[in-house]
């Protein structure tokens, strides 16, 4: 079996260990030998998209040094995979992005599986994150994996293709517009009545989850005001 490298992303490194753990569990269940290069840090997207090209290039070069020897680099982030694929060529003249796979791309396009042997007896709604959908062109790959999960009940998210308003530093620089976009996303998520809101990017889930958490606090309600955010890798890893 080929060795694959795991790129966990800086957001998961700092805040969300569950998603990269889930990727390791899924890949090992399928028989892959997973390597975690400990020198990894960040793909540089925040810098590039905030207008700091040189800084982004520094981090992109560091990424290439760390991951350059692997044939496949798997990451639980559509956004970071898109960064490597779309921006590294003109940032540092590197095509390493061709070897970076968002989890669903690796599972479906490389491993050739849709059913990863998961069971998740809950209602789930799925938010297709912008970079995964539009920049990476994931299409329905994450949904195909989720549909194969035993006992899952998938509920459609209204206006699913609308951005949640995160956009990296956009959430800070244009906080009010971002918050208005978030409010609509949270309302649509709550309207599904689902227990979980799944997505392929924990940065977007931090935003939506943070919004739902705040709504819950503001309303002072005992019951949930919306679904719990969950990375879809955690659902695929679950055998509950």
């Amino acid at each position: 079996m080929p060795r694959v490298a795991l790129f966990i992303t800086c957001v998961n490194d700092a805040l969300f260990p569950a998603a990269p753990k889930a990727v390791v569990q899924i890949l090992e269940r399928l028989g892959y030998d997973v390597d975690f290069p400990e020198a990894q840090t960040c793909c540089g997207q925040m810098h590039a998209n905030s207008g700091y090209k040189q800084d982004a290039a520094t981090l992109a070069s560091a990424f290439e040094t760390v991951f350059g020897d692997y044939d496949a680099i798997v990451t639980p982030s559509g956004s970071c995979a898109a960064m490597a694929r779309d921006q590294y060529p003109h940032l540092i003249g590197s095509d390493i992005g061709d070897h970076v796979y968002e989890l669903s791309e690796f599972l479906i396009d490389v491993a050739g599986v849709e059913d990863v042997g998961a069971r998740f007896p809950h209602t789930v709604t799925y938010h297709p994150t912008c970079h995964g959908t539009r920049a990476l062109g994931l299409g329905d790959k994450p949904m195909r994996l989720l549909r194969a999960v035993e006992d899952i009940e998938l509920v459609d998210l209204p206006a699913a293709d609308q951005c949640c308003g995160f956009g990296g530093t956009f959430a800070l620089k244009n906080s009010e517009v971002s918050s208005a976009m978030l409010a609509d996303k949270c309302r649509n998520a709550a309207a599904t009545g689902a227990e979980y809101l799944a997505a392929a990017d924990n940065s977007c889930l931090t935003h939506i989850g943070g919004g739902i958490s705040r709504l819950q606090h503001t309303a002072g309600a005992a019951e949930r005001r919306g679904p719990r955010p969950i990375h879809y890798a955690e659902i695929l890893a679950s055998t509950a």
Binding site: L15, K21, Q87
Partner: protein
């Protein structure tokens, strides 16, 4: 009901020259505006998606349009000269205007030479861009808008807030009030039925068409091969302006050039479907110079630069010149949908404005490339495949940065470029956030974190991170 009065010139409520975040905040606080916008953009968005989806070769058409526009950008000077030669041979007078001032002065002079002191106007973004109406006003001439939505905006003494639907921020109740109070000859007992409003405007405009000596237009396309201009419209007001007055003055941005007449085949499929969501627009007017008999005797074309050659010099940014002003990007933009056009502070709002305005007027509008979450919905619908997110990021990389932010970014790079420092920083964050661990999230952070916590909680780092877990597995 809304707190704001039902009809106040919307642009007057948005602070002029305020940076986008500030202007957007004001717009977000106008419930009627947001309701009107969400309804209107949602409707056009659905229509566009339906008619674009009907064509099997939609993607091939987009590729063809992008290729034609790229070709135009590669040989713009020669195409402009070819257009001048062919238009002149057909009896048109071609003028060259370096900037807004030159274009306005040429237009005003031509109106005077025609012995007129007013003109009727076809809807035109180029004339909005150069503020032709304001210039005419200042030199004692009067320009009358004849496009229904432009008429509404002009009567309201407002500014357009959308490229295609300039009065998108008004609903029909507000439009009835504007007609009632400002038109002067609105029929008594005017209702807010769309047909009644359109009829009132039709009667009002008819007199102007019949008496006008001079018309001013823009053009959607300028064909170099034949020297022809093309105007695509819905209401027929354009056809009236283009055929009835004796003198016709068309102000055309040089990026509107197309090499061949047959190129129109591609754009005439893409433009109506992308803009109004129609398979075909009701009126397409094509004219080539002056022909005697019917139509204007005196035909003028003012080719307008006004910053376009500067945009052309930027290899990444120049794709903004491919824009055919369909406004599909505005209608799908989650930011535009919530703020409307006035918040952008430029005649070109929305995603295309965010990349065009800062390039046409370098040094101004540096805030606009940041008025996007980079969601990419604009690029997905753009009929000429302008990679708007790519240009937004490119412009952010050119622009000045705020000193504090720059220091923070540099510090982040210094840490992230050194794995040991990065791991130390992660440990530091876990220690520093220990007081919030039980709660699981932070609700109030000092600035700039307060920009986040204004509407969302922030999770705290976990007790055990991925690296701990990985180490424990003994790998």
């Amino acid at each position: 009901m809304s707190a704001e009065p039902s009809f106040v010139p919307a642009a007057s409520l948005i602070p002029a020259d305020a940076p986008f975040p500030k202007a957007a905040k004001v717009a977000l606080g106008m419930p009627q505006l947001r309701k009107n916008l969400a309804h209107a953009t949602g409707t056009i968005r659905a229509k566009r998606a339906a008619v674009a989806g009907e064509l099997d070769d939609w993607e091939a058409l987009r590729d063809a349009a992008a290729a034609i526009k790229a070709d135009v950008q590669h040989r713009l000077p020669e195409l402009a000269v070819e257009f001048e030669r062919n238009a002149t041979a057909a009896g048109a007078h071609v003028h060259w205007a370096r900037d807004a001032k030159e274009a306005n002065e040429i237009a005003a002079r031509l109106v005077r030479e025609a012995g007129a002191d007013d003109v009727v106007k076809v809807k035109s973004m180029a004339t909005q861009e150069i503020e032709l109406n304001e210039h005419f006003e200042a030199v004692g001439l009067k320009a009358y808008e004849t496009d229904l939505a432009e008429l509404i905006v002009q009567l309201a003494e407002d500014k357009p807030s959308h490229i295609l639907v300039p009065a998108i921020h008004y609903n029909r109740t507000q439009i009835r009030e504007i007609f009632d109070q400002k038109m002067g000859d609105a029929p008594a007992g005017l209702t807010d039925e769309p047909a009644a409003l359109a009829e009132a405007a039709r009667l009002h405009l008819r007199r102007r068409f019949l008496s006008a000596k001079v018309a001013v237009s823009g053009a959607n396309f300028a064909v170099a091969e034949t020297g022809s201009l093309v105007v695509v419209e819905s209401e027929g007001n354009g056809r009236m302006c283009l055929t009835m007055p004796e003198t016709l003055i068309s102000i055309v941005g040089i990026e509107k050039l197309l090499p061949r007449f047959t190129d129109l085949e591609v754009f005439m499929q893409l433009l109506p479907r992308s803009s109004t969501g129609e398979r075909m627009n009701p009126y397409t007017s094509v004219w080539t110079g002056s022909r005697g008999g019917d139509g204007p005797k005196d035909v003028h074309v003012i080719l307008l630069d006004n910053g376009r050659t500067n945009v052309l010099a930027d290899e990444v940014g120049r794709q903004a010149l491919s824009c055919i002003r369909c406004s599909a990007c505005l209608n799908v933009c989650p930011v535009y949908e919530r703020t409307g056009g006035h918040a952008y502070g430029h005649v070109y709002p929305g995603p295309i404005g965010a990349i065009l305005a800062p390039q046409l007027e370098p040094g101004r509008h540096d805030d606009l490339p940041y008025a996007s979450s980079l969601c990419g919905a604009c690029y997905e619908v753009c009929p000429v495949k302008i990679n708007i997110p790519e240009v937004l990021v490119h412009l952010r990389q050119q622009g000045p940065h705020q000193a504090g932010e720059q220091a923070a970014m540099r510090a982040a790079t210094a840490v992230m470029a050194r794995p040991r420092l990065w791991r130390a920083a992660l440990r530091g964050a876990r220690l520093g956030s220990m007081p919030w661990r039980r709660k699981g999230f932070m609700r109030r952070l000092p600035w700039p974190g307060s920009r986040w916590t204004v509407s969302r909680d922030l999770p705290v780092p976990p007790k055990e991170d991925f690296r701990d877990w990985w180490k424990e597995r003994g790998r």
